[in-house]
């Protein structure tokens, strides 16, 4: 039994190493300074980079955070504060349902409610779709972290004549912030790797664009387009972009570890 479980534990990490092996062997050779700073070259020409996709992913994450952070954090505060009301229970259940909805479905819905009325794909639509994905993750961690803070701090603050909303925002939230911050990092890591919802919303863009009402490039869609393209150089660049994406997400995960390890005022 013990041997079997050790074996399974090893098998569990094998996929990660296979992925790393392939992305590194296939992609590393295409990574150079140009890859980060240059624009994609027209089909047939070799070289070029994915500066627009890096920029685009950044913008999309920014837009998603603009929606996901306030909505997620404030609803998490609400849930932690009124955990037992029927309304709160339903909200909690529904955010869990939302969390389970496949991201491609969210992409299609955003396509219908934003892309069709606007009559074009746009960064806004992409950010909106990713933001929706972030909401349940952040709501959940915020609620959990806020409830972990001992009730005595809330009482102390209320007993000083500090209004309830200020108690939540300035006493409980900062005390829970470390935990919430790690939740934010993880949700960013999650949406940074999303492709499906972006195909229907942000679409992708071969040119440099920072306009929010225009289609915008992203690392994941770049990988998707380049991997299925019939050009060998593009395929190599797709591998390289995949490697960059993995490294980015790993950095976020390492950051997450560092944050959770550091102790301050506790």
């Amino acid at each position: 039994m013990m041997t079997l479980s050790v074996l399974c534990a090893l098998i569990a990490i094998v996929p990660l190493f296979i992925i790393l092996f392939y992305t590194i062997t296939q992609g590393l050779s295409s990574i150079n300074w140009d890859f980060f700073t240059k624009m994609p070259k027209p089909a047939g020409e070799t070289g070029g980079g994915m500066a627009n996709a890096l920029m685009g992913t950044g913008i999309l994450i920014g837009l998603a955070s603009l929606i996901g952070l306030p909505v997620g954090i404030l609803s998490g505060i609400y849930l932690s504060e009124n955990s037992k009301t029927i309304f709160a229970r339903s909200i909690r259940f529904l955010t869990e349902v939302l969390n389970g909805i496949p991201s491609i479905v969210i992409g299609v819905v955003v396509y219908i409610i934003i892309v069709l009325p606007m009559e074009r794909f746009s960064a806004i639509a992409g950010g909106f779709a990713l933001g929706i994905l972030m909401i349940p993750l952040i709501t959940r961690t915020t609620e959990e972290m806020m409830t972990l803070i001992p009730h005595s701090y809330r009482e102390a603050a209320l007993g000083l004549g500090i209004p309830r909303w200020k108690t939540n925002l300035f006493i409980i939230l900062p005390a829970a912030f470390k935990g919430i911050f790690t939740g934010i990092l993880l949700s960013i890591a999650r949406v940074a790797g999303e492709t499906a919802p972006l195909l229907f919303t942000a679409l992708g863009n071969r040119f440099w664009s920072t306009q929010l009402d225009q289609p915008i490039a992203s690392l994941t869609v770049f990988i998707y387009d380049y991997a299925k393209a019939p050009f060998e150089d593009w395929n190599r660049q797709a591998w390289a972009a995949a490697l960059i994406l993995i490294i980015l997400i790993m950095i976020i995960n390492i950051l997450f570890r560092l944050v959770t390890r550091k102790r301050k005022y506790a």
Partner: protein, 268 residues
């Protein structure tokens, strides 16, 4: 308050003198938590600049009573009937936030805010109510820490986290924090029960000092403590107030059998 009413009250209260100003008063206070009838017809007078101790066995309603006095009972969805007066005004007419500025509270377990420095802890109540004058805040922090007999121990550590202090120091920090908002009444819910004897003695000394300027109501399990620090004592049992009188009287010749049994350790 006219003479007649005062005379009536004096009759009701075993310890009130005409010369004393009444700071708080409860009139037939009843409290319910769900179906539990936690306080039954409590009428009690709390004179200004005195210490009232509330004693009684666990579950007798003494902490509940304390929490009603600054409406903290609302945090656990309790309902009260009857009247609670602060300087003659019904506290239910206050906004709970402004009431709690006047009636501060110290809890059983020291609870300095975990993300704040010592100085910030003391001034939290002011800063979070929109008071931002840095120099003034500094002054108030020092004054409050001095009042709480903590200044000498922390004057070089003001920027350090409040949680770095020992339990007894943390509790005095909490007292300083409550004093900084300049309350009239301080409610203490077993403030020394989590502390060692030396820290306890410091808190008791402090209570003695504080009553020059504040009215204090302390709930305690420790009868010696009640005898040491308070001017008046009320004995609660099963949600009712069995007896209240001058502390000396309660501990030497209580008029009720139950009180005597409790203070002599026969039950509770």
């Amino acid at each position: 308050m006219n003479e007649q009413v005062l005379a009536m009250k004096e009759e009701k209260s075993p310890y009130l003198h005409t010369s004393q100003k009444i700071r708080m008063e409860t009139v037939k206070l009843n409290a319910y938590f769900g179906k539990v009838h936690a306080l039954k017809d409590i009428s009690l007078i709390i004179p200004q600049n005195k210490v009232l101790a509330i004693i009684g066995p666990s579950g007798c309603g003494k902490s509940t009573f304390l929490r009603c006095l600054n409406r903290m009972h609302e945090e656990v969805s309790g309902t009260i009937y009857g009247k609670i007066l602060l300087d003659g005004d019904n506290i239910m007419d206050y906004d709970p936030v402004s009431l709690r500025k006047k009636v501060g509270m110290i809890f059983q377990k020291p609870n300095p805010f975990p993300t704040m420095s010592i100085a910030d802890n003391v001034t939290a109540g002011l800063r979070l109510n929109g008071f931002h004058n840095k120099n003034k805040l500094k002054e108030i922090a020092e004054k409050s820490l001095r009042q709480a007999a903590l200044w000498d121990e922390v004057k070089d550590l003001l920027k350090h986290p409040g949680a770095d202090l020992s339990g007894g120091q943390q509790q005095r920090l909490c007292i300083a924090r409550a004093l900084a908002v300049e309350p009239e009444v301080i409610l203490m819910d077993e403030p020394a029960s989590a502390l060692d004897p030396i820290s306890t003695a410091k808190i008791e000394e402090l209570i003695f000092e504080l009553k020059q300027n504040y009215t204090i109501i302390i709930v305690t399990h420790n009868m010696q403590q009640a005898a040491r620090v308070s001017d008046y004592t009320a004995f609660f049992y099963m949600g009712e107030m069995v007896e209240h009188d001058k502390t000396g009287k309660i501990f030497t010749s209580p008029s009720k059998r139950q009180t005597e049994d409790y203070i002599t350790g026969r039950f509770g």
